[in-house]
Subunit: 414 residues, 2 copies
């Protein structure tokens, strides 16, 4: 079965706002074996919405409309779908009573425009919204001789998710032929896409029943494997076999096989060994610390560190001798090593990281161009420094530098 | 005139990838007075592409197809558009020669599949691609009696932008009736949307010729004003008048009127006065430093600081007395103030910021719940501390806390 997702709202036809709900819905639909064939964005215009609904009903099995269920004049999804299907809207007194209660509970009197949220398309099943006022609606039946399911969902992501998981997924599972789908996601840091593909293509190409997608992000490659089989066991075995072969080929380069982020993997490894980390960042300006502390519970292994943007602070917080900076420059192998060793000593941590580089776009020279970064890792067993020249803009260079740092910690711990 | 944007590519129908080119195109189209009426995402399927192209030609004046112009079997946009319009594809020998040269220059022999990039739809104008191999194509004429423009654009953002600005915008300006459009963007930090709207709605509602859009993000409200008039001067005067009235109502709360970010405004103000800043972050874990240093040139006013995730580091790097932490707890008004004062002293900066709080989701207590944050600003004139309880998840709470810190610096400087 296939689906069309129609996101409703004129704000998503401006340069400022984007539909993101469809990513979540696609993930959930794929999990039960439904493919998304079209995605559309339609403004708050009744004629456009009617046309889009009719088109969806003609070309897909499942049509999901997101948004336009609120109380304002712009909220037209109910009216448009009723018109497209040639059905009436009926005011549901039970919903109306619940709406009034909801307002009363918060000490408000419900304003008149809210009543339209109690309008239900004839023949629709009302889907209670645990996190908001507007309920969803579910309509199924024949359209031009074809079996169709049409679902109206609220736009706010937390309302949509609660309602879709609670009310829609169980109903869809009953209607969609049972599927046995297995997926794997391998993540690889700091390897060029072409290099990954050259090494793994000969492997995955022999698995024509497994759909392989390679996605390249900043400093990371993701390998998505997905297959269907006659049983769940057979599907799992198939992607597992492929994932294992790819891992054997790439070795340590695969940092995650369940989709965890690099900072999450570093977190596991540090906690498993009871070790701690501290960082001294120059060009990344706090980005590394921020990534590490984005995880709850990071205080168990991350002590903190310093953002040493000025040279005096490199000395003040990480014991970098002024003479070393004068001799080699702030962006140098020596200063990176000294930052890592100094911050480790000052924080009494198992490992210390030092980062210094030219994030650009200004400040580059012929000898030290924009993108040049030194990352050092200091531990009991000594200090290693890596010199890299990263491509891209300031944001990308800073991100790559933190990928490099996390990858060095990971490799030291495996 | 209105437009439909069709993004082509099966990867954008997965949970992993999203069309972002349409945001850029929408901005550029709006600037010349073209509204985007529909956006669609279609997979690499010839029949689906043909249907989407025909539909676009029926309902919009301008149809932009993005992607599917590469050399692989999945790249079907040229073929599909030719089929939809009932036109032939013709191999363009000039493009072919340029392709071959391009490969030869890099020392490669062009592989056979690349030749299809030289296929041009009969009657199309070829749009040279300065940043890639596949040229764009421009087709204009009557379709079902209506004047239509259809544009084929390459998918990679840098190719799309170069080609659209260089080849498409000048041509579109000739076809689109000249428009005089003026816009303003006011940004407001840390005020609830309902409060902003309650105060400014009575003002913007009297400007029915100005389109007003209110967008709420994390810790920020954006007010977008847009109008058309008979002359550019009249349009500018109209939005300027509205923007001024709104600014008079909201006063200092408006931090930006040209779209600059809060960190950018703080950057201007610090540099204008020749002042410097240092930060000591606990719960935000480097996020504030990261935001400040995301701007090139931030070393002119940002010295650095410390991420004091553990209590000993609060003492080590920001001189917070251990007794103070023992007495009031790490998350307290007193420790926030001490962090700000200590880091200011250690870094010899004009201002020091201290942040401590409970970012969650764990670690909250009845007295100190998740979301509780103390932000302190220390300067020559003394120290102020603000206590806030922010809603949302860890990411949102941390972001709000850095908004609060930047807003305090801004208010201290205006």
């Amino acid at each position: 079965m296939n689906a069309e997702i129609i996101a409703v709202g004129s704000e998503m036809l401006t340069p400022h706002r984007q539909d993101t709900n469809s990513l979540y819905l696609t993930e959930k639909l794929n999990e039960i074996g439904v493919e998304v064939r079209f995605k559309c964005i339609v403004g708050d215009d009744q004629d456009d919405l009617v046309a889009a609904t009719k088109l969806g009903m003609r070309r897909c099995d499942i049509i999901l409309l997101i948004g336009g269920l609120g109380p304002t004049e712009d909220d037209l999804t109910r009216e448009a779908v009723a018109e497209a299907l040639g059905l009436n809207l009926q005011r549901d007194l039970e919903i109306l009573a619940r709406l009034e209660q909801r307002f009363a509970k918060r000490g408000y009197k419900m304003s008149e425009n809210n009543v339209k949220q109690a309008d239900v398309i004839a023949s629709a099943t009302v889907l209670p919204n645990p996190n908001g006022t507007a309920p969803g609606q579910w309509i199924s039946g024949k359209y031009d001789g074809q079996e169709r399911i049409l679902i109206l969902l609220p736009g706010p992501p937390n309302e949509l998710k609660g309602l879709f998981e609670g009310e829609c997924l169980p109903r869809l599972r009953e209607r969609v032929p049972p599927q046995h789908i297995a997926t794997r996601l391998l993540r690889i840091a700091l390897m060029p896409e072409s290099q990954v593909d050259a090494r793994v293509a000969p492997i995955y190409k022999t698995y024509s029943d497994v759909q392989t997608t390679i996605l390249a992000g900043a400093g990371e490659i993701q390998l998505h494997f997905r297959t269907r089989a006659a049983s769940q066991e057979a599907a799992e075995a198939r992607v597992e076999e492929l994932a294992e072969k790819v891992e054997n080929e790439l070795g340590d380069a695969v940092f995650s096989r369940k989709g965890e982020s690099l900072e999450q993997i570093v977190s596991y490894l540090l906690q498993m060994r009871g070790l701690t980390l501290a960082v001294a960042e120059s060009c990344t300006g706090g980005l590394l610390a921020q990534r590490i502390t984005s995880l709850s519970g990071s205080s168990r292994y991350f002590l903190g560190g310093a953002v040493v943007y000025s040279n005096p602070l490199k000395t003040q917080f990480a014991n970098v001798p002024k003479t070393l900076i004068d001799k080699h420059g702030a962006v140098s192998r020596e200063v990176a090593a000294s930052l890592a060793e100094g911050i480790r000593k000052r924080c009494l941590s198992s490992y210390g990281i030092g980062i210094t580089g030219v994030a650009g776009p200004t400040g580059g020279t012929e000898q030290k161009p924009v993108g040049l970064v030194y990352v050092a890792l200091a531990g009991e067993e000594g200090t290693q420094v890596v010199e890299r020249t990263f491509p891209g803009d300031r944001k990308r260079i800073r991100w790559f530098a933190t990928q490099q740092a996390l990858e060095m910690v990971r490799r030291a711990l495996i």
